[in-house]
């Protein structure tokens, strides 16, 4: 199939591993899904200290379950990416550990206190869910299938995040202040979650033409604001003055783009902020430390494959 034919046929869940797709499509889809998968893993890195630091046993259980889900989503997504035939999961995980793999801007910042938890667990997860729901209609079928399970699970994450936020927002004055401080700090990053405005985004046009993406960055950001600004206000959070957000008066909002620090955003996008180095360094060390186990499993697999002499695997 050539790229014109791909654009012609592009539609929800239209292409699967049995289609003969041009490299341009397969590379673009790999880049997009690998980014998504990497983000699941790196988000989990940010949240894992709070399994330990959760202030009740139930919260600890919920946090452990949530981090577990994120790794599960990584598992689904790397497989969806792998099935495009460009890179193996091992390659993608190596790239992530070596600092070549890209991931969401929000996961490049440190998260230090419990009051920051809802910034990721409610707002960023909410934003992710908003985007993921639209990806159920992506053209790469294995990606859409991964989204079915991810979206099924994610509702728990958003509610868990909201529950923590509610507890802080209705807690002591100190807790409320900590929550507002965290919100002030994280809000611009959360807005940038959806990336630059459409005319600055380099990958959108092609991805939209071949059906990988079904909504633009701007549309997604606005859809997010429409649902989440009222939520923030409901919990008594004040929306920071900058970036300016215009209330269109019809239940929709708009962000004044130039109020956001795009230089920082693009530094992060290149994995080049201090936080990026810190997070990626952790990943590299911990992956390296268990390399011996993967080698051991590979040996076992080779030995048992030799013993069984099974027919070659179908894909």
């Amino acid at each position: 199939m050539d790229i014109e034919a791909v654009k012609q046929r592009a539609g929800p869940r239209e292409f699967s591993p049995k289609d003969d797709l041009p490299e341009e499509y397969r590379k673009a889809a790999t880049r997009m899904i690998q980014f998504h998968a990497n983000s699941e893993i790196m988000g989990a890195y940010l949240e894992r200290p709070f399994i330990r630091q959760a202030p009740s046993l139930d919260r600890k259980l919920a946090f452990s379950a949530k981090v577990q889900d994120e790794i599960g989503h990584g598992q689904l997504l790397y497989r969806a990416a792998e099935s495009l035939g460009i890179k193996s999961r091992e390659q993608m995980l190596d790239e992530l550990a070596e600092g070549e793999g890209k991931f969401l801007n929000c996961f490049h910042y440190p998260m230090e206190s419990w009051a920051e938890v809802p910034m990721i667990a409610f707002f960023v997860d909410g934003a992710a869910m908003r985007r993921q729901a639209t990806l159920k209609r992506t053209s790469w079928e294995p990606y859409a299938h991964a989204m079915d399970k991810v979206c099924f699970e994610e509702g728990f994450h958003v509610k868990h995040g909201e529950d923590i936020m509610r507890e802080l927002a209705t807690g002591s004055k100190r807790e409320q202040e900590m929550l507002q401080d965290a919100f002030d700090e994280w809000w611009p990053r959360i807005i940038q979650f959806f990336g630059p405005t459409d005319d600055k985004s380099t990958h959108h046009d092609f991805s939209a033409d071949v059906g990988l993406k079904t909504m633009t960055n701007d549309e997604l950001r606005n859809a997010f604001l429409n649902a989440y600004v009222p939520k923030a206000e409901k919990y008594g959070l004040e929306i920071p003055d900058e970036p300016r957000i215009r209330d269109n008066g019809d239940g929709t909002y708009e962000v004044v783009e130039e109020d956001l620090d795009w230089e920082e955003f693009f530094t992060i996008a290149k994995n080049d902020s201090p936080g990026s180095h810190e997070q990626i360094g952790k990943r590299e060390r911990t992956q390296e430390a268990v390399e011996w186990v993967r080698e051991s499993l590979d040996d076992w697999e080779r030995a048992s494959a030799g013993a069984n002499a099974t027919p070659e695997a179908a894909d």
Partner: protein
């Protein structure tokens, strides 16, 4: 040799198990499967896999989802929060409720 057959009705849907065929190899299994399992029911694609290559774990061997309370990992575990503010959260909630009901109806565990 027995081959298990999985049918996908439309592009983008899941392949689900629909039966099996006896065949000496994969090529013959595909030929037989398309007639036996794809000749009338709507079919977009079929997969065949050797039966002996399929591993199974069932409720005799496993306690799927555990035997103690795991409501912390379900949307329904979080009370008095409105999911309707975002369609995708509400959808997840109803999908989870459905899954939970199906699980309970099956009477497996609690």
């Amino acid at each position: 040799m027995i081959w298990e057959v999985f049918r996908q009705e439309d592009a983008g849907e899941y392949h689900t198990h629909c039966g099996n065929v006896h065949a000496p190899d994969r090529e013959m299994a595909k030929l037989f499967a398309q007639i036996q399992h794809g000749r009338r029911k709507p079919t977009n694609s079929l997969w065949v896999a050797p039966k002996e290559e399929i591993g199974e774990v069932d409720t005799e061997d496993a306690k799927f989802g555990g035997t103690t309370d795991k409501s912390y990992r379900w949307v329904m575990g979080y009370k008095d929060l409105d999911a309707a503010f975002a369609e995708e959260v509400a959808d997840s909630e109803s999908e989870q409720e459905e899954a939970d009901e199906a699980k309970r109806a099956r009477g497996g565990d609690d």
